[in-house]
Amino acid sequence: MEYFEPKSLDEALSLLAKHGHDARVIAGGTDVMVDIKYKEEPGCLINIKKIPGLTGIQENGGSLRIGSLATIRDVEISDLVHHKLPVLWDSSHQFASLQIRNTATIGGNICRASPSGETLAPLLVLEARGKLTFSDGEKTESFTSFFQGPGKTSLGTKGLLTGIDVPYPPEGSRGVYLKHAVRGAMDIAMVGVAVLITPDAAKNNLQDVRIGLGAVAPTPVRASKTEALLRGKPLTAALLKEAAAMAASESSPISDQRSSGEYRRWIVEALTRRGLEQTWKAATGKEVA
């Protein structure tokens, strides 16, 4: 296995151009090292951690720019994330263990493109965008189109994710990320549901609703039909029940050793209901009617 530690973005991109299909990019390494040991060594390993300028979390107008090499712990201990993006903070706080959070990067969690990636459903509901850099230029892409399948992203074999822009959610909104796993710490989510709602000014109706589902489809997905059903309405018990069932029907989970597809659908229903209830109460101060 060849090994490179590029010192600049340009160097990394030309290495990817040369070794593309044979290369694996490594940052924190908490997933890649396991693959190297138990699956297959790539022909070439490109360690991007020495590239300057890819860390840090900064406010950038009405959004937060997170460097792709920021660790999950950096995200978790950021006051800006905690106060402005609580739904992302929730997922960083429930991410594996402290040891892993100290090592794993947010860019790695995104580029791994695992349907169960902990930060992904929150990034979808926050309508975050990735900054993708290629040797012939860079582009900004929404994460709704970035994920193409398990392990597949629009970066292909030639691009690098160099930053994440997370716009602040609307004024008055409330969000939560709920994860279902057997064990609180360390465990991979069987299902993860991110909910972000914004009530109207009078706090009577749902003005904006965003629901992200993790681990229940080939990529993390938005439950767009459920969102459309809820938009513009007050959250009543009947609507809540209907919406939760619809979110479950919008998921397409597989059965694996962690749980059956049928069980995952039940959990999507339960977590969607819980997430909507919690955020509605927090945002409006009202019980579900």
Binding site: G29, M33, V34, N47, R73, L98, M186
Partner: protein, 158 residues
């Protein structure tokens, strides 16, 4: 492909070669013959291999040895001062927080990292600090007792 790792382990400069695929844990145990950090799950899930990397606890089994270049690493071998055990080690003995002992070096490192951050850890701090360490024997209560005792001793409260 071989590379040279220049690092600092327990305050001592170390230079040795490693493969790109070598984990920091393999580098410690097999290259440097430092067997205190334990190999267990080898996938970053059990915490037996925990070391302190630039002040932060990490799983050495899923860290590249190459990333130890220029870093400061603290392992279980670096805690005692001659024959005098580190307060965390002594507290684990005094409370009986050890049974089979395999997870113990990882726990002690995680707890040292916690008590380097604060000597007044809350119940939540403790839970977070050792949530990535698995013990199959003790039932955890004595480990938590040991953490409180070590914190009290380090802060001069006991």
């Amino acid at each position: 492909m071989s590379l040279t790792v220049n690092t600092t382990i327990n305050g001592q400069a170390v230079s040795a070669s490693a493969e790109a695929s070598t984990s920091l844990l393999e580098f410690l145990r097999d290259t440097l013959e430092m067997k205190g950090s334990k190999l267990c799950c080898n996938t970053g899930e059990c915490g037996a291999c925990t070391v302190i990397y630039n002040g932060k606890p990490i799983n050495s089994c899923v860290t590249m040895a190459a990333d130890a270049n220029g870093a400061e690493i603290i392992t279980i071998e670096g805690l005692a001062d001659g024959d005098k055990l580190h307060p965390v080690q002594q507290a684990f003995i005094d409370t009986g927080a050890v049974q089979c002992g395999y997870c113990t070096p990882g726990y002690i490192i995680s707890v040292k990292a916690l008590l380097d951050r604060t000597t007044k850890p809350t119940a939540e701090d403790i839970e977070e600090a050792v949530s990535g360490n698995i013990c199959r024997c003790t039932g955890y209560n004595k480990i938590v007792d040991a953490i409180h005792l070590a914190a009290d001793r380090i802060a001069g409260r006991a």
